[in-house]
Amino acid sequence: MLFKPVQLHIPDGFLSTPVSIIGWVLLVVTVAVALRQTRGQLGERQIPLMGVLAAFIFAAQAINFPVAGGTSGHLLGGALAAIIMGPWAAVLIMTSVVAIQGLIFQDGGLLVMGWNILNMGVLTAFTGYFVYQLMRRLLGEGRNSLLAAGAVGAWLSVMVGALATAIQLGVSGTSPLGVALPAMAGVHALIGLGEAVITVGALTFLYAARRDLLSIGETAPGKASASWVGVGLGIALVVAAFSFAASPDPDGLERVAEDTGFLGRALEPVYNLFPDYTLPFISDPLVSGILAVILGTLIVFGAAFLLARVQGSRKAGA
Amino acid sequence: MHHTIEVQALQFAYPDGHTALRGVDLSIAPGEKVALVGPNGAGKSTLMLHLNGLLQAGAGAVSVCGLSIRAETLGQVRAAVGLVFQDPDDQLFSPTVFEDVAFGPLHMGLAEAEVRARVERALAAVGMGAYAQRVSHHLSVGEKKRIAIATVLSMSPEILVLDEPSAGLDPRARRGLIRLLSELPQTMLVSTHDLRLVAEVFPRTVIMDQGRVVADGPTARLLGDPALLDAHGLEPV
């Protein structure tokens, strides 16, 4: 049996009470907006369509493919749902999925459910949608642009969900940020690849079979909100990186680190467990962790961008 | 006396351009039990969707119980025509059997006590009284089909329109269905590929092919005409 799509379902007890409650408050607001937006988008069909698509994501999460060494790739689905239906509809779909997983299967806790939904359903939906739409705009029409945009959107959506999870664990004092961030980033950089491959496979199928379905997402409400989320995430990452990297006062940095409790004495040896995320020229693990994430993001983004361009021009030339 | 169902020169094309009905004429008198047969793609399901206004006629006219189907009459028409879909998983969309059978009466605006009484009666009529609190997805196909019929019986319709009620049933469940259909007093239009069921339950048969009614008459005569059956992809019993 063991039905574990992605290790992002936080159980109860792993987040502190204030953090959990903030999650619920944010979720309540988000869902209220999502309900209003999709009601406008879908009218009377809202309930049956959202319900069946939530059931679809649940079933799709159970489809997996063997990768290597007993691991397998599978889908979380937030990005796919958002690409097809738009971000607000995806929020409702993923809210139902994560709620049922928590209530029926104890996959993820109840008090922490606010964050579980935000991480796996809201952040993934908006990140995936924002990146997808942005790249579509940059790369133009056509199949390759669709696939590149879908791949990067899906990969990044998992990354953002994972990093958000790491931050909540860090703020709750359950896991030092300097450990949680790079560890989550590392594991989910791989898991995200599975997400990207399946999402692209699904988009390819839909592009061939029912191209009209892919235009629902184009016209769905939530473009502006998605842009704000995208810009906000970008700014947050850049500011975080620069404020640490540019800090001339290593003591200040040290103090920040100690205040938040993530740079204990024993951190150095633990950190060496994850040498892959340490860039040689930066000694502080947290900074290099964040930078590594940004760098990885840019590399993947750029590679997919170039690939689509090259393929596109080859087709145009032929 | 008005006809319960009156369809005149009905034409319909799906949005993708496929013409499914090319001039259908059909009248059914109160109390009649009529079988609708024909090969796959003949247009049987499409015709049935017109009978309670889920599809709007491209050309021609449809009226039910003397009401022509318009936005204002839609509520009355849907209360008068109990339409049961081919796949019971589409018909039973609520988590429990009770909620599904209550859905129709509740949305007709009936009082709660009346709704509960109707659910009880409808489930009893199909012999599923003990199933009210069951969860739909755990039921067998035969049980689902019976409950699907109960979901419209609870609306006390004048006419039952059933799309392939016997598909996927084992012999015993099929037997039970035949008994149920014979006992129910409503006017009935039932599409099926099961000609033995037709012979047992329905005095009158309508054959459709390629979007038209190609034969309409007493079941015994139609089913006793091998050339006619063969021409429309049906096998003599």
């Binding site: 649940f58 029926i104 299967f105 390819t204 | 849907r78 209360a79």
Partner: protein, 264 residues
Amino acid sequence: MLHIDLADHYQRGTSPIHRLDPRVKIVGTLLFILAATLLPPGSWAALAVLFLGSLGVAWQSRLGVTYALKRSFVVLPFALAAVTLPFTVPGATLAQVGAFVISVEGTVRFLSVLVKSWVSVQVALLLAVTTAFPDLLWALRELRVPRPLVSIISFMYRYMFVLADEALRLQRARAARSAQGQDPRRTGGSVLWRGRVAGGLVGNLTLRAFERSERIYNAMLARGFRGELKTLTPPTLTQFDRYALAGWVTFLAMASLIGFVFAR
């Protein structure tokens, strides 16, 4: 390839816990988890009291005292997320393994997280096991969860097994065809190809979901749906429900008190 636990955990029964109003059960479960989460690290006495409370509920539900206990280890894999605490929280040295220093405080924090999580999942499990999901749904509606959201979840619950079945059938059909291996380059297939195949199944399932939802919408219209879902009014709380909730809250308050009084 398809891994899915197709049965939910609900066990039919007539125990007092089964008969308790689902609203009371939901609120009681959330309060329990809140009480556990709020405890300061190392509140072993209070956690033990909470644990006894969950055993008591299991006993009253007549599923056997250890029913939830045996099924509550699902949280263990996630323990990995907190496993660095003993090494990273500064404090008195408990042990030293090579270059790693294990601190007392860190170990206490780590074990507290684990035990909190473990007792929480036990009551969450008992809630799911003793309450039919449709009952949870109307209770959520009564507890002011937005109605459209509850309805969406109810449709999801109805169709998740139907679509999982469709997924299973698609996968079997694909497996049966690929066994013939018309395309020699693709037999077995690279990881990427296998992933694309899985993705194709997901795409196919998307179409089926859309078509299914359209047929369901038609079935709803056919039975008088006009855009607003109506529901019957649920039963009111009984005296038994009220006393049970009051007793439970008192118990949780006492457990919390123990936790904070004996906090280090």
